[in-house]
């Protein structure tokens, strides 16, 4: 039997300096779950439940204090930085501003882990960048500075950079946070296509429960650094559990595609 692509084994973590989190202690305790190959896996939960920490642990920006994270059967801690970056591509929420490079230069940065010692990118790198820009419909904007793009275009450029990495796992941190409805829909379609056509495994970290429900095969719901539940969207997005975790009243309906649809109820009192 093939192992899962990613496995969290009893991962525990606490921020060393609580001062950096404005005095609020945060700890992640005994987090275990797997991400299977070619699935779209969602991470949801309230603010400061540990979504971002989980992403940082998976990309080794943070290192677990307990337990281990396995990638393709290898302990993450044993990988060289560029080996990890070849396997895991991250689409961050935002690029810094001002950012001095063009779309094409940004996308080519995704090629770094494939040849960290190479000074200039070669034809293979250029081809990978081109195909990533083609997939995200960015070829006409290749020479445009990132600072001149709209929010949606910037988001696609960051996605293209991650695609140029040709990762086995694509991680998206709030992919639609800065997008209007049309680009939200386009992003969702693109992610689904990448998943189906290239069997790409996708990890989606999102505030948006309905986007996660619509796109993901399975979800993990986090609560204060622990797992509240893992499973198919219909199992995880249950009114009772959500009310307990988010501490507010919700109604769970069914969307047009038969997935759970979470709605807030604004009751007085």
């Amino acid at each position: 039997m093939m192992s899962a692509l990613v496995e969290f084994r009893g991962v525990g973590f606490a921020y060393a300096r609580p001062a950096e989190r404005a005095g609020r202690a945060f700890a992640m305790r005994d987090v275990s779950f797997t991400i299977e190959r070619a699935e779209i896996f969602g991470v949801v939960g309230p603010n400061s439940a540990g979504k971002t920490s989980l992403l940082r642990l998976l990309t080794r920006v943070l290192v677990p204090e307990r337990g281990a994270i396995m990638l393709d059967g290898c302990d993450l801690a044993t990988l060289r930085p560029w080996e990890l970056a070849r396997a895991v591509g991250v689409v961050p929420q935002e690029a810094p501003r001002p950012f001095p490079f063009t779309v094409e230069q940004l996308v080519l940065m995704g090629r770094y882990p494939h040849a960290p010692r190479r000074f200039f990118e070669d034809a293979t790198d250029a081809a990978a960048a081109r195909s990533a820009m083609l997939a995200t419909d960015l070829l006409p904007l290749a020479r445009v500075p990132l600072d001149e793009l709209s929010g949606g275009e910037r988001q696609r450029a960051l996605l293209a950079r991650a695609l140029a990495q040709e990762p086995r796992l694509l991680v998206l941190d709030e992919p639609t946070a800065h997008l209007d409805l049309r680009y939200q829909a386009e992003t969702a379609v693109l992610l689904r296509r990448l998943n189906r056509e290239r069997d790409m495994t996708i990890l989606l970290v999102s505030h948006d429960l309905n986007l996660a429900a619509e796109l993901c095969d399975r979800l993990v719901l986090l609560r204060a650094g622990t797992i509240a539940r893992v499973g198919a969207p219909a199992e995880v997005l249950e009114a009772g559990l959500l009310e307990e975790v988010f501490n507010c009243r919700v109604v769970v309906d069914k969307s047009a595609s038969g997935r759970p649809l979470v709605q807030l109820t604004y009751e007085r009192g």
Binding site: E20, R56, T59, R60, V61, R80, P81, W82, E83, L84, A85, R86, V88, V90, P92, A95, P96, P98, F99, P100, F101, E104, Q105, L108, M109, G110, Y112, P113, P116, R118, F119, F120, E121, D122, A123, D125, A126, A127, A129, R130, M133, L139, A142, R143, D147, Q165
Partner: protein
Amino acid sequence: MSGAPDRGVRATGDARRLALALAVLGGVLLAAGVVALFVGSAALSPAAVARALSGRADAASVESVVTLGLRLPRVAAAVLAGGALAVAGVGFQALTRNPLAEPSVLGVSSGAAFGVVLAQILGLQTGLVAAVGVAAFAFAGALLAAGIVYVVARAPAGLAVQTLLLAGVIVGIFFSAAITVIISIVDFNRLSGVIHWLLGNLAPLPSASLALFAVLAGVGVWLMVRHARELNLLALGEEAATQLGVDAERLKRRVFAAAALLTGTVVAFTGPIGFVGLIVPHVLRGIVGQDNRLLVPTSAVAGAVFLLAADTLARNVVAPAELSVGVITAFCGAPFFVWVLRARARPA
């Protein structure tokens, strides 16, 4: 490559662009070097200079002494110092993600100068061993000053632009005051020429010192070129760079050390010459773009051209007297700094 025009990806053209830029700048440097050798406060005919350069003049003749003993080492020092300072500027700018960061603005030059003055009162005056010692003190002073600026300006969200510049100014003032204290209390004869040196002075160096200068500057530039691609990725932020496989902590340490080495070396051999690291990279960004792989090597050559031109001006503008080259760069640099600052403040 495929026959179809590869619209949208020009990665493979960058090597050609770098070679072209270096060839052009190299030509300009050569021309500037020739001009610098032929002009000066000593009235020498071009024919006499040519005789000295080709070795056909008597070694004790005026033309030989002036051309080979004074002008040639001075040209070499200007080339080395200019290249090193410009590359140090690119390094500090990439590290802090701030185009105004530069050795003199950040107070790093003052820290290095303090190290040099300290080395001099400890008796390190002449000879190659003393030169190594002075360079080591200057490097330590540069590291100390840059470290203080970094600690002062560090905030949870990264380095704030204004805080960084203010911290640099304050650290610069502090080390300048420390130098003044030393000059005041130490016997003046032991600090001969220190005032002139503090203004940035390309006095002729013995060839052993020039060789040491070249080696140290070469190491610094080489380190910076080697990490140029990773410095591009640092523009994404440390976390994103880490997620692309860059060891961000190691990169920052190395570039920091390389920039301090370049600054310290220049200060040890020529005194604190300001603003080269600000002006040269800024002008080059308008020509070769923001890519550090193009910017670092071209800055090395363009910095050499700039300082050579500034020094040739310093030697001739008030002839037969001479200005310190640092005066020229400060006169150009201070207004330039204000201009860049205001251009940045303007909403895009």
